[in-house]
């Protein structure tokens, strides 16, 4: 079963310096029908004006991933930093029992465009941590690249998250068909980062998402970039 969440139906915020689309309820946007999917709690697409950003604020008990679509984000937190996150990089922050961080567009001239993802952790009061992983653009072309998961086959290419969830990215063109097996009891969320794709025959555009249950194989084709969440 595939349930599409159209991009234009998401919660929209325009604060001038920030334009944000929330797939699930977040901040002032609240819809009891969209409180998350499985352990995926937040999926925000943020466009931040040059030099602007979120001042220091706190988080607790959440696995927070940031995936850059365009531009750069400067990150500082109570553990480490500063760090600059760019394209073909993912950042994973375990908020654990408490963390304070800030994130700003690192450029004074170009906007930044990113996806922020919150995944519920397997337990409360974990030890906070920060990871930043870079990968080669070709790693995601025509195949799934594992950005984050509960274990890392290669710590230089995959971040570890404290949940039995896996986050993949792939970029397909008209010649590609990328498949992913979903064992029984597993679910998936697909989020289109750019372009237009088909997943098991369902057509999705940039900004669209899809909740997927009771399907054993996912086939992604089309021309675009997607994040695939394999969820318990």
């Amino acid at each position: 079963m595939i349930t599409i969440r159209k991009g234009h139906d998401r919660g929209h915020t325009d604060a001038g310096w920030l334009r944000s689309h929330a797939t699930f309820s977040f901040g002032a946007y609240h819809d009891p029908n969209f409180m998350g999917f499985r352990v995926l709690r937040v999926l925000n697409e943020d466009q931040i004006a040059p030099g602007k950003g979120f001042g220091p604020h706190s988080h607790r008990d959440m696995e927070i991933l940031t995936y850059m679509v365009d531009g750069q984000l400067a990150h500082r937190d109570s553990l480490t930093g500063p760090h600059v996150l760019g394209r073909n990089e993912v950042q994973v922050m375990t908020a654990g029992d408490g963390i304070v961080h800030s994130e700003f567009n690192a450029s004074e001239t170009e906007p930044s465009h990113s996806l922020q993802i919150w995944i519920e952790p397997r337990a409360e009061d974990l030890t906070p941590s920060y990871q930043q992983i870079a990968f080669a653009p070709e790693d995601k072309r025509g195949r799934l690249h594992l950005l984050a998961g509960p274990e890392s086959p290669d710590a230089t290419r995959t971040a570890i998250i404290n949940q039995d969830a896996r986050v993949y990215v792939t970029e397909v063109d008209q010649h590609d068909r990328v498949t992913h097996a979903l064992p029984e009891g597993r679910h998936a969320w697909i989020q289109v980062v750019r372009g237009a794709i088909d997943v098991n025959g369902a057509s999705l555009q940039q900004g669209d998402g899809a909740a997927i249950s009771d399907e054993r194989t996912l086939v992604v084709s089309g021309d675009g970039e997607v994040l695939l969440f394999d969820l318990p």
């Binding site: 706190s58 607790r60 029992d97 304070v100």
Partner: protein
């Protein structure tokens, strides 16, 4: 259940006191309360050249505390730069803000703490100023800013009404 807020007010020019304020804020989060970090405006004095970039960043990242911040939070944590007192230029307008709230009775029942940044006279002077304005002081429970922040967070969480069955 709404998370009670703890306003963490600090002065910092080179980022050292900022890090201590962050540690106190993490302690507040540890206790499941919500820290709101606020940096005081500069007093206009020059800073060492090596601090210029940090100062520019802090100007961008923080806002100053407002009456609404303090009035809306059950707790206040102060993180002054070592050697400062409530009469120091950076703190005077904030103390005036507290005076205004105290005269309106807005501070009654609120708790506060002064984080020790390594200068006992600084802690003593700010503690006296807060007590005089009606705050109940929360003493340090542990040797560092994070532990102190956690104690303040726990104090405000204990006042939150627990849902009954």
């Amino acid at each position: 259940m709404a998370q009670p807020a703890v306003v963490v007010v600090f002065s910092s020019r080179c980022g050292i006191t900022e890090r201590i304020a962050h540690a106190a804020a993490v302690g507040v989060v540890n206790a499941r309360a919500l820290p709101r970090l606020r940096r005081l405006a500069d007093d206009g004095s020059t800073v060492p050249p090596e601090c210029a970039a940090t100062l520019r960043r802090m100007h961008k990242e923080y806002v100053q505390p407002t009456e609404r911040d303090i009035a809306g939070a059950p707790a206040l944590i102060i993180v002054p730069t070592a050697g400062m007192t409530p009469l120091s230029a950076e703190w005077q307008s904030f103390i005036t803000l507290l005076d205004s709230l105290a005269s309106a009775g807005t501070l009654a029942g609120k708790v506060a703490a002064v984080i020790d940044v390594g200068n006992s006279q600084t802690v003593a002077s700010f503690s006296s100023a807060l007590t005089a304005r009606g705050f109940a002081l929360v003493a340090a429970d542990g040797s560092d800013a994070r532990a102190h922040g956690r104690t303040v967070g726990a104090a405000v969480m204990s006042t939150v009404e627990q849902p009954s069955r």
